[in-house]
């Protein structure tokens, strides 16, 4: 494994980091275009398998890039891809959040914040529905999604119980 391939991984995901407005999932089509069609690091079918793995693991869904990096250049590749994907955007977010805190009482800040809230509300619900559409292939999976949503919304039951029940239901009933 050469420094060259690590450099390529760092450059690719560093660039994508600052383009990933709307979270890692919104960047998935662009990542697929580059690593599958352009660089030929993986096949389309490998890409969708890696996507499933990243989603089955705990942690932020940005870890699709960890799996890709590890496939291309082993564990160092996975770590470099992850760092390149999270650092530029994370540092930007920290600086802007500090700026917002500093001007907590300023009217422009309260206006900007108030204007962002309805967009967040729309996006979190849309993202949840995209996930539901991808994973609900029949009545049972749809029922699992709806029941879990109700429990999460109305109770403080720990998510791990729900996830365990969901995996068990999948094993026994699907």
């Amino acid at each position: 494994m050469s420094a060259n391939i690590l450099g390529q991984i760092a450059t690719l995901f560093g660039k994508l980091s600052l383009l990933a407005v709307g979270g890692a999932n919104s960047t998935v089509p662009e990542i697929a275009r580059v690593v599958v069609n352009q660089k030929h690091w993986l096949t389309p079918s490998q890409f969708s398998q890696f996507y499933a793995i990243a989603n089955a693991a705990p942690g932020p869904n940005v870890m699709i890039v960890t799996v890709i990096g590890a496939h291309v250049a082993g564990v160092p590749g996975g770590l470099v891809a992850t760092a390149a994907m999270v650092l530029p955007a994370g540092i930007t977010a920290a600086i802007i959040a500090l700026l917002f805190d500093k001007h907590r009482e300023a009217r422009w800040r309260r206006v900007a914040q108030a204007a962002l809230l309805p967009i967040t509300a729309g996006l979190v619900l849309a993202a949840a529905c995209v996930l539901a559409r991808q994973s609900d292939t029949g009545w049972l999976t749809a029922a699992l999604t709806i029941l879990t949503a109700l429990f999460t919304w109305r109770t403080k039951l720990h998510p791990l119980w729900l996830l365990g029940a969901g995996a068990l239901a999948g094993m026994l009933l699907l």
Binding site: G90, P118, A126, S135, T152, A167
Partner: protein, 178 residues
């Protein structure tokens, strides 16, 4: 505003959220920061999350950078992000290896399907927890509904959605916020 937190508190808090964040960390981290540790109120959380979501990058990773910096400076951010990412990184690398060996076994595949459907439900439930307080302000209802329709119905990219909705939202907020 949250109390000053130590780097250890940040690391362990975000570590818990990372290791339990199946199907996305947002539901877990919202519960941890708002319900359990009371580091933020629901509205403070919404404000910080909105900001992080409107910036590039993974929302929850951005949130740990921003929250860590806010309560304990740069080293706080490092503690929060390492806490969030270390266990999931180890697990995802292990899973990639396991999946290569056992991914085709039917019972594993079925369990993963059930897990994915439940994870979607978690996202929906925590989405409702976030959205409902925001939708209590009347001008937000139509704006949020438009964003939802543009994102879920028309599959527009976020920069485009922001370009269409944010100017209207800004004008309405400018009039409403004293």
């Amino acid at each position: 505003m949250p109390p000053k937190l130590t780097r250890t508190q940040l690391f362990t808090g975000f570590f818990q959220a990372g290791i339990m964040g199946f199907g996305g960390v947002l539901p877990i981290i919202r519960r941890l920061m708002v319900d359990e540790k009371r580091w933020l109120t629901q509205m403070e959380f919404n404000e910080l999350f909105s900001l992080c979501q409107s910036l590039p990058g993974a929302n929850v990773v951005n949130l740990s950078f921003a929250f860590g910096t806010r309560v304990a400076g740069i080293t706080g951010a490092v503690a929060a992000v390492l806490g969030l990412m270390s266990a999931p990184l180890a697990i995802v690398l292990g899973l990639a290896w396991l999946y290569g060996r056992y991914g085709g076994v039917p019972i594993v595949r079925h369990a993963l399907l059930g897990l994915a459907a439940t994870a979607a439900g978690l996202a929906l439930g925590s989405g409702l927890r976030i959205a409902v307080p925001i939708l209590k302000v009347r001008r937000n209802v139509l704006l949020a509904a438009s964003v939802y329709a543009l994102a879920f119905g028309l599959h527009l990219s976020l920069p485009l959605i922001a370009l269409l909705v944010l100017p209207v939202s800004l004008v309405l907020a400018w009039r409403a916020v004293p």
